[in-house]
Symmetry: C2
Subunit: 340 residues, 2 copies
DNA sequence: CCCGGACCAGACAACGTTGTCAGGCGATGG
DNA sequence: CCATCGCCTGACAACGTTGTCTGGTCCGGG
């Protein structure tokens, strides 16, 4: 396990100066063919590999690296975002440092700090904490930042989100339009912007329909699919259970379906979920969802980021990517006729 | 967009020497309290951030970064691996550079080269090309490499795989044991080791059962779920269609189920898939699979890698993580009685 | 009063690379 | 035959940091 050869080693072996090696390695013109050849051979012989860090340091150039900090890389939504961003970065010679925040406030600050320490050229962040003003010095120092999925607070940066309120509104309206009057709502932690917006969309739709809001069928702060399953069981145990459920996140939808299955009610209670998920169309009944165009979100985030990294510095922009209501079977389940 | 402050700037503002700033920043002892305070204030005022690259360069220490190159980060299996590896790396102060190879041979070499250029301290690789001997110089130069999912060829490194042959053998045997005599097999590209091994397991089981191998129901080189769907349609169109299917990868299983659904045969044809997938248990019928313990694979890979990064240099080890046959409904579907 | 030691601060070189500039050499033209 | 030019090549400094080593100050003890 020897140390890696440096340009100095190559120069010594080739019998040329350090600088000549540098020129050959960087493909600069003005080196005579036989010297090029000698250097090439020495490089080969020593297995010399260019050191990007040292090169970037001297050049005063950026690191050709961006950071991508998302909620959970194992989650389908985050994984897709990462993949798309990487696909945009690679052709530009930019590598991606990725990590998961688990919506943990401290982790956000720690990891962002680590990224800054590594002098990433840009950052894609799914904000986990309620305040990003700690980023102000970095942004002022020229760090391009793009927020995805949720906006930042306390600091304006480029942002790519969907209209969560509108999507939830439409989902709820869809169920109400099919005759349901008892529509339950399950959402994520209230400190998350997306959860709050989706809840708002639901409440607006209910209110606009002239229906009362029944707090017993509005369940908040659900983190895992299992919690959604448990919550659904409780809903079904009510004296007047809901006839339809709006699930505010893809794994919550899964949790709901699981609970309905347990009681063989999956064709008796209507479900519309927020976020599509793989195989939603293959379940029986297939699950109706409000779908986010994840690929488009990722591509947009990448474009905004690279534009800024390439020197464009407009005032922060917010892009709202439209959602689509994907009609499948679970949303079509009617209100049971066996009713008082 | 000013340039970031350096230690020199901080030193100037604090009225101390560069080295004193270095000491304070690194928490070294032996600086008088009031100087520490002055430096702290200057750091604050200038938003100074430590430059890890420069620090590492000088220290001759590694970059505190590892590379993770997998097939496709959006794939559930790869995403989970990445997540687990990151969870192991973070507490050690190590960041993860991740990218997708798409099983593209050139991309493997290009991306590995890029990682070397960035002087990663270690590499987790899902080999995409048939020969990794190009890695020899890097390994000799002390780069720890761990192969996951598939072994390397032309170069021995630490490896974490499952017994694909055995898993496929058991899956096939399971179907044969339930009376099926026409069991189809769908597999990935033959140049992939996993695909070859799984095919081998299938063929062995068929042969051991004294059955003939019918090439018409052994379909190879399937890359996408759609291709599996098309292949399944063709199988069903045969004069003597299979009564059971062994699908050699998780999205191929999905493709098979989709085709069966189209013809309302999902409860008439048995299915066992290789690799579990989310919601496999929620489909109807729930899909029986050979499951890999992905978390364990990732954790093992991380452990092997970090052991080597910390100086252990035993001869390359191969860890075979066991698979489990997860019995669900689709594997229990019996041979139709309406039979000649 | 002076010496020794403890303690603290800074000068300098070096990590591996590249930009700048000066110099050597052969060829060309007057 | 010499001045000039162009083409190569290399010496040197610098990127931002840290290890080493030197030197200064202050204190207590002899």
């Amino acid at each position: 396990m020897r140390k890696r050869a440096t340009m100095t080693d190559v120069a010594a072996l080739a019998g040329v100066s350090l600088k000549t090696v540098s020129r050959v390695v960087n493909g600069e013109p003005g080196v005579s063919p036989d010297l090029v050849e000698r250097v090439r051979r020495a490089v080969e012989q020593l297995d010399y590999r260019h050191n990007l860090a040292a090169s970037n340091l001297r050049r005063g150039v950026r690191t050709q690296t961006i950071g991508v900090l998302l909620h959970d890389l194992r989650n389908e939504y985050a994984a897709e975002l990462l993949r798309v961003i990487d696909d945009h970065a690679r052709p530009l010679g930019v590598a991606v440092l990725a990590s998961s925040l688990d919506d943990h406030e401290d982790r956000e600050q720690v990891l962002v700090h680590d990224m800054v320490t590594r002098r990433v050229d840009g950052l894609v962040l799914m904000p986990a904490s309620p305040d990003q003003s700690y980023l102000l010095p970095e942004v002022r120092a020229g760090l391009p930042v793009v927020a995805v999925d949720r906006p930042t607070a306390g600091l304006a940066v480029d942002t790519v989100v969907v209209d969560n309120r509108d999507g939830a509104h439409r989902a709820t309206e869809y169920l109400l339009g099919r005759g349901h009057v008892r529509v339950a709502c399950l959402t994520d932690r209230g400190r998350l912007w997306t959860a709050r917006e989706r809840l708002r969309g639901y409440l607006e739709a209910i209110t606009e329909a002239g229906l009362p809001v029944d707090e017993r069928i509005v369940v908040k702060d659900l983190v895992t699919a299992d919690e959604a399953t448990a919550a659904t069981r409780a809903l079904l145990d009510l004296a007047d259970p809901p006839t339809a459920v709006f699930a505010g996140r893809n794994d919550l939808s899964v949790g709901v379906v699981r609970a309905l299955r347990e009681r063989a009610l999956e064709r008796r209670v209507a479900v519309v979920g927020f976020d599509d998920f793989p195989l939603a169309d293959l379940m029986s009944p297939a699950v109706t969802v409000v779908s986010q165009r994840v690929t488009e979100i990722g591509a947009t985030a990448a474009q905004l980021l690279f534009a800024r990294m390439h020197g464009e510095a407009p005032t922060p922009r917010t892009v709202v990517v439209p959602t689509r209501l994907v009609e499948r079977e679970s949303g079509l389940i009617p209100v049971p006729v066996t009713f008082a």
